[in-house]
Symmetry: C2
Subunit: 202 residues, 2 copies
Amino acid sequence: MQSYPSYLLENAVNQLSKLPGVGRKSALRLALHLLRQDSQQVNDFAQSILLLKNEVKYCKVCRNISDSDVCSICSDPKRDATTVCVVETIKEVMLIEETEQYKGLYHVLGGVISPMDGIKPSDLEIESLVDRVSKGEIKEIVFALSPTMEGDTTAYYIARKLQGSNVKMTTIARGISVGDELQYSDSVTLGRSILDRQEYKM
Amino acid sequence: MQSYPSYLLENAVNQLSKLPGVGRKSALRLALHLLRQDSQQVNDFAQSILLLKNEVKYCKVCRNISDSDVCSICSDPKRDATTVCVVETIKEVMLIEETEQYKGLYHVLGGVISPMDGIKPSDLEIESLVDRVSKGEIKEIVFALSPTMEGDTTAYYIARKLQGSNVKMTTIARGISVGDELQYSDSVTLGRSILDRQEYKM
């Protein structure tokens, strides 16, 4: 059992070790690192976290995080407002934005349906998506959810909800990753990529 | 280049990625984790860091960190005040305390002499150690510094400063680590452990 020379240090280590992937040894290292910085730097560090938590807004259209009521993507007139990509978290928004391949808008669910983790459809931003679609401007919904049981369930649930609306529903292509060696791919992915085979483009 | 949907998020990621061992991807993961926590938890987290930096004291005897003017080790009457172990940082104090093998006091230098990093003897708590010794109560100084050029230089520098005072100077034993296989030990350590061989105790 580690004994700390100071309660303040112990408290900071306790807090830092709550971060994902940070054990007590790393937390101590981080705390001692912060102690060595000057006051202004540590203050800026702590303030950036408080500001993030207390001042950040969620876009009222797509639920992406934002500094204003409507995020920079939703308010960009150059984006295609008829296509909406449904993602789990803002992390996927950032990943897809990084590809520079998508010019539509997003809808951030805030998770996927997972009875195991107690996440029900009502915990997610599904109603707000149905509302968006009901306004009639959206022509295509692209599901970009993880290829897991939960992701599939969520897509299915939303698809059922949107049945009858005139919106086209698509899902991102699943197949062999670019650069992957075929011999190491799993059989489900390989099977799927054969079923979903695409015309060969020269 | 990653584009952030929010300046507040980008700022927090910038700050978090300054932590040692935290890259921008991990920093984003930490920021999103903090966003998911409730406000009170994030507030407690940030406060613990601010309190650590702004409220922690340094023991005026040994320079260990402390919640009071004199640390709990220096003010403990059960500790042997005639023996002082010289260490680089409070981290080594904690490591040695964990062994439960040492009952003397400490002196935290705050680093080792390192011309490469611009650390001069005057940047370290060496004068305060000489002062402590000059009071006459201390009978033994134990050097527990890293077995590096810088650690050796620092011990040598302090030993020269304390020449003439009636204090015994020792250094922690160097040798094969407990549990190490002999065949994998480096030759310097092995050579040293042969020179410093100890009487075999049945």
